[in-house]
Symmetry: C2
Subunit: 188 residues, 2 copies
DNA sequence: GGTCTCATGTAAATAGTTACATGATTAT
DNA sequence: ATAATCATGTAACTATTTACATGAGACC
C-alpha cells in the first residue's frame, strides 16, 4: 500500500515553500537545518513527491534534461500552499521518545560502582558538544540569513536545542553529584 | 529472521533483576515506571522471552498450571545477570528524536498570524500537565519505596522528566514573548 | 576519458505497534 | 455462571532506513 499517515508530505511542502527544489536538495537542506528535530530519508522523499504530484500539491518546474534520471525540480501549487497552511494549524503532538541513558540508570543499582557515573559523564560531554555546535549554527544563521522572514522562527528552534543541552548538562552535573554520595544502603 | 539488535532483551533482564515475573507483569511495570523514556509492546516482549530462555538468559520459575496459556513466571539465570551488568557498562547512545512542534515552528513564517502562538501555548500546557504528573509520581515513589536500593536511581530518572518539563515550559514562555513582538519585516 | 558529486528510484531489511484469537483466574 | 481481568501468543500492518542500481553533469 502507498497510503502513509506521516508528516513526510507536509514536511516537503514546507521545504518547497522556501523555493523550488529537487528531492535531493530537500534532503540536504534538512540535514543542514531540521536534522536535530526532523529527518526524512530518500526512501520516503521520492515516493512522497510522486504521490504529491499526483495529488496536485506540487508540480514540476521546467526540466533541464529529460533522461530517466534527470533532475526534477518541484514547485508548490496553490493547493499545496493551502495544505501547508492548514497543517501548520493542526495542534502538534508530542511524540513518545526513548532515552537509553535513563533506561540504564533505572537499573543503576544492578551495576558495578562507577559504571553509572561514567555513563552520565559521557552523556554530559556529548551534550556539551551539541551545545557548542548549536551556538556555532546560531551565529552562522544570524550572519547568512539576517534578512530572511524565516529567521526568527529558525532561531527559536535552535534556541530550543540550546536550552535542552543546557538542561541536560545541568542534570548530569546534579546526578553525578548524587552518585558520589553514599547510597541509602549499608553495604555497597 | 528472529535476531533483533534492539535493547528489548536487556530491558527485560533489567526488569527481572527486580524479581521474577511474567511478560504481562513486565509490560505493566514498564507502564508505571519507565513509560516516559522506554516502552515495549507484547509483540516484542513475548518473542524476546522465548529467545532469552533458549539462550539461557532466563528460566521458568515453577509454574502453577500447565495449559497452553498458563502464566509463565521468568527468573534471571547467572548468565542473564552477567549480561545485564555488561550491558549497563556499554555507553548509552543518544537516539535521534522527532519534535513536531519544532518542525511546524521552522515553517512558522508561512502560517497565519496567531497560529504559532497557539501551538506553543498548547505545548506549554501539555508539559505543565506532565510536570504535575511527575511531581505526584515522585512523591508516591518516595513514600512507597523508601527503602529500596533502586530508589535513588528511579528518582534520578524522574528528576530528568521534571527538569525537561520545566525547560520546555520556560522555552515556550520565551518563544511566545518573541512571537508577540513584531517580526523583522515591513509588512505583517 | 576518469572521477567526483549530484541525482532518482526501488527492493529489501529492519523496527515496532496493534488487533486479534485464545485461555486461565478471580471476584461477585 | 458470568463478567472482569489477567495472561500468552502471533499475524498483519505500519513505519522507516539502508543498500543498491543507475545515470547525469561538472571539472580536470
Amino acid at each position: 500500500m502507498d497510503t502513509h499517515k506521516t508528516t513526510t508530505e507536509e514536511t516537503l511542502l514546507g521545504l518547497l515553500s522556501l523555493g523550488p527544489m529537487s528531492g535531493y536538495q530537500m534532503r540536504n537542506l534538512m540535514q543542514d537545518s531540521t536534522a536535530n528535530f526532523w529527518r526524512e530519508s530518500y526512501g520516503r522523499i521520492y515516493p512522497a513527491l510522486k504521490r504529491m504530484k499526483k495529488a496536485g500539491l506540487v508540480e514540476l518546474d521546467k526540466q533541464a534534461s529529460a533522461g530517466p534520471r534527470a533532475k526534477k525540480v518541484y514547485r508548490l501549487t496553490t493547493t499545496g500552499q493551502k495544505r501547508l497552511r492548514a497543517w501548520l494549524g493542526v495542534p502538534a503532538q508530542p511524540l513518545p521518545n526513548r532515552n537509553e541513558l535513563l533506561l540504564k540508570l533505572f537499573f543503576g543499582d544492578r551495576a558495578t560502582p562507577g559504571t553509572m557515573a561514567a555513563q552520565v559523564l559521557a552523556w554530559q560531554q556529548s551534550y556539551a558538544a551539541d551545545l557548542k555546535r548549536y551556538e556555532l549554527q546560531l551565529a552562522e544563521l544570524e550572519a547568512t540569513h539576517a534578512k530572511h522572514p524565516g529567521l526568527p522562527f529558525w532561531r527559536m528552534t535552535l534556541r530550543y536545542g540550546i536550552s535542552e543541552a543546557i538542561m541536560v548538562i545541568n542534570w548530569c552535573a546534579d546526578t553525578m553529584e548524587e552518585l558520589k554520595s553514599p547510597p541509602t544502603r549499608d553495604k555497597g
